[in-house]
Symmetry: C2
Subunit: 636 residues, 2 copies
């Protein structure tokens, strides 16, 4: 097949691709990340690039003006490579990607909460290393090398349920003798009572056993490296999910997967992200990749399909059926994840097409499944998922919130990483702003918790009305921007990149729709069970906002219901902490499985009154102020 | 690496090999089978070939005369390729290989015996196909395709113990919809209570499920194709084990495996044999290879190591330790066996280095492990293995008999296939011979049971003395041959290939050593338990003699002890029938595992008096005629 070279500027990165590949796909291969919210349908107009040299074939590009076409602008998703090309990618078309693996650390209180939940389960990592000092063979015995070795492995009952692959068997006899019968075996749990002996190494390496847990979000991917012996978290890293280049939400990705190689591209994108994080971990910690024996992932159902390269088509077609909610234990290599070649991959089981393993992990790590009183678990990500219940029952639902609270799809949004504004206080007299920045340096952008604070403060200061429109006030912070009115949170002189950090009216609209989707989902679910908010004893709030959530402000903008504030607890990324529990305990894995099976799913789209609830919630805090009595008292 | 072309005549087969490969190895690659009893040590002198053209490098070839060297004769195992070569392979150096898969059928009585034993176990094939008519998904449900499918699978308990690999998962959603939710699944048993869903096919293919069981002997390889639904045996095929090109017994093969690529060559040889048999079965029966879902093998421990390409080195080094006696369920593809790509491979568990899964299978299929009285199980192959015991205990031992009873290593020997002389009666007056030939055609050679008859008859007719020497008698059947005196069983005019079929003095010596090894092993084992022959209630005799064994003659030559003849039963190839039982029943597999664990192994080489017993048995029937009272009465 004919192949062409495509060079992207100003990155000056070149890639060779076959004829007819889209420029969008070529850019990803070159490591140039172009925004594409619609997943290549040519409807969002985000992926504009400028053709500097060469010949292309373009499908209908109705999104482009005459002028743009004259200037060589084309949509990367609809334009195919027919020649050696030179392409300019304007800043406005770039995906807001940080260097993968930029770290953030959880504050101590969240770490402590998670450590406590961890201890609910017996320490029994999915992959265990055991040092064996094996007696040498004797003539009177008939034992094989394998039997001799297995006899020394504790806790294996009944016999025959410890399996060993041929590749291990093949090197065994020489290895045992060369290491003077002192070896370390790695056991991987496969089923209840069944383990596989995945590795035998000479000498005692039992202290070098590491695992990585991942939360694979639609927008953000987070990973933690864990010492499987000491249970200690050695590091946490996060990155944007590179799949965002193919669409910002689940639906556009599922549609993109229908393209030729689309599924493969989406699969590669997330696996590459994971492998980069893994590589950085092992480099930072000076760990041999072979000593990484297990990876546990939690994520929404579509993310899990794409991770395993399983067709997600029917997730978005009625009756919304995933291929799997639960897969057994896999080998990481089967999914292209680069750890020990025989290392494990476990995925936390999900519930339904729109309630995935990330929610199961959240219910697990929050302890909701053991609560006596009525509790609500809310996970705010690109989708918002709600679980209502206790030790007796669990009911769940999902609302499509969009990625605004993850700092994506908003003009100055960013992940909750170093430099993100996570706390905002606005002086209502002069509208001056106090900003709390992660890492305490200059701000680079705004993360989810920062947006919640900012909107609540703008409401209090009268900067915006209940509809989210910016008022006409004579103040240098309020001005007309390219996309309409905007409020300047930080001026260029204060910011890390020397650019104004602003909140625009479209940003506020975006966040309003996101909070309305989540609030109305909670509301409909509570009503579905013939309950009301007063019956709720606890609310666990999870999500990638950052390390902090001002619940008062979250109520004030109408994201959370107006109930007693001490009932709220913010538990951070509970998907990640749940997957870490599974990594460290087979019992947690079994419990996650039980939780997923137990949870009943309510499909909001067919639930009566959901759209009305949503529409009513499209105000700050709500059209019905009677639902927010404490906010009404504050007279904002 | 430099490569050269080697052409073998008169076959006119050419192969390209890298520099420094031995001619023996090149010949195997070309499909030319050269005899090599010593396994390439250059000591047996069987692999003589003639260099017609080209340059070779030869190691010391002390086995060759001056004249031979002058004529270009070299030993294929010690001569390396240094040039493009032309090689003549004389008939005397060829391995006595029939076309693979030449069939023989078991006579009805043996079939009946085996069918009875079969019914001891519940029908539960290791791989099962089940047709599923799956209800279509509904909006009210949250079930994934996988769960929906697994819900329809009967007998899967507890949930989560039915595993599905990614390759099955990846095609599932389209397959289910394209086949209107009517599919056939193949379940493969992996552990107690654990199965893998290895295949999903559209429509109802549940009636097309086939398995193949193999007995992998050092000399002979036998296979049976079985309909896993009806339990019907669809065909039986056998071939010589092509590994014989690398040495006729286990020890020489283990030594050959130490060579560079030696293990790989031995592995390939047996796997090629199996794949040829499988190909012929599916061609004969017009079966799709994908409908062959399971292979079960039994064989001695070395054969199992070579099959799985596991280093057998320590089997022959004191304290004689195999790498494994039992492996779990494998995927056939892992060993290079070509059936359904996700099809199963099970190996019947063995006991020790010299008592393998073939013996476990024999004890299983004979029912010895359920007998109340004292029984002996004797398997006569290239090794002779003895098991003494009953439902209470099992004790076993192995004796190195050599392949004579399998028709190998004797001048006119052949496998018990069509054309083999299996019964012999000699008229003591004129020495005329009545021959019973398998298939009732003209004879091609002599199989094990034929040799037993022939020697017993020669003893009775006075043709040989008790030492096995041919007497000076004036009869056209007795003459001086190239290798010493010989007796003509069939003249060229009567034989299938137009060549005399003879028994030579070296043949008789060979058979005498074989029978002495087996008899003395039984004798020592009985004494080991402080018993004597009178206490034995039953003797099961297994082996590849053919379809028939004249037990009277077997006692007469001193192969079997002189006890009441009705205690003997000949059960044919019990390794094959045992592996068929396992193929058809997980319960049989579990029982085989119990038998292997229960059996105690006695190492004859360290057993006091074994060599004395062996030496005493090097007469027909024995130096101590008191041990053979009924033979003594016959005054031969």
């Amino acid at each position: 097949m004919e192949r062409f070279r495509v060079t992207f500027y100003p990155d000056n990165k070149t890639v060779e691709v076959e004829k007819d590949r889209t420029i969008l796909s070529a850019a990803l291969s070159a490591g140039v990340y172009i925004a594409s919210h619609c997943g290549g349908d040519g409807v969002c107009g985000r992926c504009k690039v400028i053709l500097k040299k060469g010949r292309v074939s373009a499908q209908s590009q109705g999104m482009l003006s005459e002028k743009e076409r004259a200037e060589g602008v084309c949509l990367a998703c609809l334009t195919a490579v027919e020649d050696n090309l030179e392409i300019e990618v304007p800043a406005s078309s770039r995906l807001n990607l940080e260097a993968p693996g930029a770290e953030y650390s959880l504050p101590e209180d969240v770490e402590t909460l998670q450590a406590t939940a961890q201890d609910l389960f017996v320490h029994s990592p999915l992959a265990t290393k055991i040092f064996l000092n094996i007696p040498e063979p004797k003539l009177e015995e008939k034992l094989s090398d394998t039997e001799r070795l297995l006899q020394q492995v504790p806790f294996i009952e009944p016999p025959g349920h410890l399996h060993m692959g041929l590749s291990v068997l093949r090197g065994l006899s020489e290895l045992l003798r060369a290491s003077d019968w002192k070896v370390t075996v790695t056991l991987a749990k496969k089923h209840e009572g069944v383990a596989e002996l995945i590795n035998v190494e000479p000498g005692d390496t039992s202290q070098r056993n590491f695992g990585i847990c991942f939360d694979i979000g639609t927008t953000t991917l987070s990973g933690q490296m864990v010492d499987l012996n000491s249970k200690k978290v050695l590091g946490t890293k996060a990155t944007y999910n590179k799949q965002a280049a193919f669409g910002s939400d689940i639906i556009t990705r599922i549609m993109y997967a229908r393209n030729k190689n689309g599924l493969e591209e989406l699969h590669r994108a997330v696996v590459d992200d994971m492998n980069e994080i893994i590589r950085e971990f092992v480099r930072d910690q000076a760990i041999d990749l072979n000593d990484v024996t297990c990876v546990v992932c939690s994520g929404n159902t579509t993310m899990m399909h794409l991770l395993l390269r399983v067709d997600p088509t029917y997730i978005r077609k009625e009756p919304y059926t995933p291929v799997f909610n639960s897969v057994g234990m896999l080998r990481a290599a089967e999914a292209g994840i680069l750890i020990n070649p025989r290392g494990l991959l476990a995925c936390v089981p999900g519930v339904a097409s729109y309630v995935g393993g990330d929610i199961t992990a959240g219910v697990l790590s929050s302890g909701q499944y053991e609560e006596e009183g009525l509790t609500v678990f809310i996970d705010i990500g690109t989708n918002g998922e709600i679980v209502l219940g206790n030790r007796e029952f669990l009911v769940c639902a999902a609302a499509s919130a969009g990625p605004a609270f993850e700092g994506s799809g908003v003009s100055c949004g960013m992940r909750a990483a170093r430099g993100a504004i996570q706390k905002v206080v606005i002086n209502s007299k002069d509208l001056s702003c106090w900003l709390g920045v992660i890492g305490n340096g200059r701000p680079s952008g705004i993360c989810g918790s920062g947006y919640i604070d900012a909107i609540a403060e703008m409401l209090c200061a009268g900067v915006i009305d209940k509809n989210g429109k910016i008022r006409e006030i004579d103040n240098p912070r309020i001005r007309q921007g390219e996309l309409g009115k905007e409020f300047v949170l930080a001026f260029a002189s204060q910011s890390a990149e020397g650019k104004d950090i602003v909140i625009t009216e479209p940003d506020i609209e975006n966040l309003k729709r996101a909070k309305a989707a989540i609030y109305s989902a909670i509301s409909v679910l509570v009503r579905h069970l013939d309950l009301d908010f007063s019956r709720i004893d606890k609310v666990f709030i999870a999500g990638g906002f950052g390390t902090y959530l001002n619940t008062e402000n979250a109520v004030r903008i109408g994201l959370l219901p107006d109930i007693s504030r001490e009932k709220f607890s913010f538990i951070g990324n509970s998907s990640l902490s749940g997957s870490r529990q599974v990594l460290l305990s087979w019992e947690a894995m079994r419990r996650a499985d039980q939780i997923a099976r137990k949870m009943n799913y309510v499909e909001l789209s067919v639930e009566p009154g959901y759209m009305d609830e949503y529409m009513a919630a499209l105000f700050f805090p709500h059209t019905d102020l009677g639902l927010f009595p404490t906010v009404r008292q504050q007279k904002i």
